[in-house]
């Protein structure tokens, strides 16, 4: 009979009429985010950064600008390179996270914020001072050490670099003796390295 299909559709609509709405009223409430969410507010630990510019080399858009300056003389005598400039041009950043994956010292982490709008274009440039001054709420993206301790980037406290474990050196081994014997670079299931 003509019309049965339409009636059946109306039953579905009526059932949905009494269902709880799924709409979120955004500015007042927001959707729960995953801890791996890749967003702005990059966390950068200046004490770990050597200015090697791996992040800048692996950025597909080339928006990270790093200038380093030798500081304190000879490297053999404990002198280090000072990072003079660390600019991220967020206006063009697509939050792919390849800079974080490339960092061999776990110095750069993704952030969890997504409300990045600014009134002026130059405000979208993150400088070294911005990165140093802000609270550290690193995303757990490509940071298994944070994931293992069930770190929640949306909880209140700011993360210190001393408490953030280092794992990227197992992904980017620089010398063969840094590798475990069988060449396996991943942690075991309980988080320990062989």
């Amino acid at each position: 009979m003509y019309g049965i299909g339409i009636l059946r559709g109306l039953v579905v609509t009526a059932r949905n009429l009494v269902r709880k709405p799924v709409t979120i009223q955004y500015p007042e409430e927001s959707v729960p985010q995953a801890s791996r969410f890749r967003g702005q507010e990059f966390t950068w630990f200046v004490d770990r950064c050597t200015g090697c510019a791996s992040c800048a080399k692996f950025c597909p858009l080339g928006i990270i600008r790093i200038v380093t300056d030798p500081n304190g003389g000879n490297e053999q005598d404990g002198g280090t390179y000072r990072v003079d400039t660390f600019d991220i041009d967020q206006a063009r950043c697509m939050y792919c996270g390849l800079c974080v994956e490339a960092c061999p010292y776990d110095a750069l982490h993704m952030g969890s914020n997504f409300e990045a709008a600014q009134y002026r274009r130059q405000d979208l440039l993150i400088t070294k001072e911005d990165l140093n001054g802000r609270d550290k709420h690193p995303s757990t993206w490509f940071r298994p050490q944070l994931e293992r301790e069930k770190f929640d980037p949306f909880a209140g406290e700011s993360k210190k670099w001393e408490d953030t474990g280092r794992e990227a050196r197992f992904w980017h081994p620089q010398r063969p003796e840094m590798l475990p014997d069988d060449g396996d670079t991943r942690p075991t299931a309980d988080g320990e390295y062989k």
């Binding site: 299909g5 559709g9 799924v22 890749r38 692996f58 697509m94 390849l98 993704m110």
Partner: protein, 365 residues
């Protein structure tokens, strides 16, 4: 009375064109006499951009081609790179890729179905139901890889990282609830008399024409040709799961719609089997980010939600591809547009175009 055909431009800025597609229609009243598709409004030069980025960086470009189905773009690209470099992904990585790709197929088919019904005049309700379920799958992607659309999840030699612990219960919940949702969507639409009379027998593509025009994916299978690359040339772990390839018999708009609904059900089955079969282990064969593949070329076609997707890569031994060419299913599925539309009314043109499920990001690249 003297009459003459009138030329009507639909698009590039028209809500029914799924992006920036322009149809130059020659009309005799409501009847379509001629169709001329005009494309290229969303050209971003991805293939050229790939030549100056190294192999890992190109993954971020593939996200943006078919932006409704980023995971399968990633998969096609990394499979092609793996053939070039000779790396094989470990089992768990392959299973994770298949789970992600099938979830992406569900998302893409939901979007295709929702917008197809929207074009048909079923205003907003089925689309919103489809989008509601899509959101839940995108939440899974956010758990997996931190992004919902531009995922960049897969890497050459596997996936970038293992799934977090909370991913598996969330996946199980969605897999349990999706069939009930599909029943609901079918109850809402599939037997609706208006939908049936508007779609059955409209814009028929015969199997012979579809094969001759290199059409792939659900559009080809709706014409009754059993060709699915997951069965015909299995990649990753598709040879270890069992599933059916749903086929249509008419090749009309209704078949193209119902095939997608049936494929969502099959995708759910594949995910269930993968979750049963997956075992702990490494997810990535190599931690390297820079590759210098030997001189050569590679092409691995996969069954993307819209059809056969493949990345043809030429290596000259350097860290970046010498040439990348994308075999985009959306573009090639558009080739029969004129044959589909001529002789039908203007309102059928919108529906038939929606039934091909093209994505302009992939057509123009």
């Amino acid at each position: 009375m003297h009459t003459q055909p009138v030329i009507v431009n639909i698009g590039p800025h028209h809500p029914s064109t799924h992006g920036v597609f322009r149809m130059r229609l020659t009309m005799d009243g409501e009847n379509i006499l001629d169709v001329e598709p005009v494309i290229g409004y969303l050209h971003r030069g991805s293939e050229k951009l790939a030549e100056e980025r190294h192999y890992t960086q190109v993954i971020t470009l593939t996200d943006r081609m078919d932006y409704v189905a980023s995971m399968t773009n990633n998969q096609a690209y990394v499979l092609s790179c793996e053939q070039l470099t000779g790396i094989t992904a470990p089992d768990r990585g392959q299973y994770l890729r298949v789970i992600a790709a099938e979830l992406q197929r569900i998302v893409s088919h939901l979007v295709a179905t929702g917008f197809f019904l929207q074009d048909l005049g079923a205003f907003a309700t089925p689309l919103m139901y489809a989008m509601r379920e899509r959101e839940r799958v995108l939440d899974l992607f956010e758990m997996l890889c931190g992004a919902r659309i531009t995922v960049s999840y897969m890497r050459i030699g596997g996936v970038f990282q293992d799934a977090p612990a909370e991913f598996w219960p969330a996946l199980g919940k969605i897999v349990d609830e999706l069939p009930a949702f599909i029943d609901e969507l079918e109850g809402l639409i599939s037997k609706n008399e208006i939908v049936l009379s508007r779609t059955q027998g409209v814009s028929v593509i015969s199997g012979r024409d579809a094969v001759n025009a290199s059409i792939t994916g659900p559009v080809l299978r709706a014409s009754g040709v059993s060709w699915d690359l997951r069965k015909a040339a299995p990649y990753d772990v598709y040879d270890r799961v069992s599933f059916n390839v749903p086929l249509g018999d008419q090749g009309d708009n209704y078949d193209r719609y119902i095939i997608r609904i049936r494929e969502i059900r099959e995708s759910v089955k594949i995910i269930e089997q993968c979750v049963k079969q997956i075992e702990p282990g490494p997810v990535r064969a190599t931690s390297a980010m820079l590759f210098r593949p030997p001189v050569g070329e590679s092409y691995v076609p996969i069954e993307a939600p819209k059809g056969e997707l493949g990345f043809y890569l030429v290596s000259d031994g350097s860290i970046a591809p010498y040439r990348m060419h994308v075999r985009a299913p959306s573009l090639i599925n558009l080739t029969l547009l004129k044959q589909m539309l001529v002789g039908w009314k203007l309102s059928d043109a919108i529906v038939s175009f929606g039934s091909i499920d093209v994505n302009m990001g992939e057509v123009d690249r």
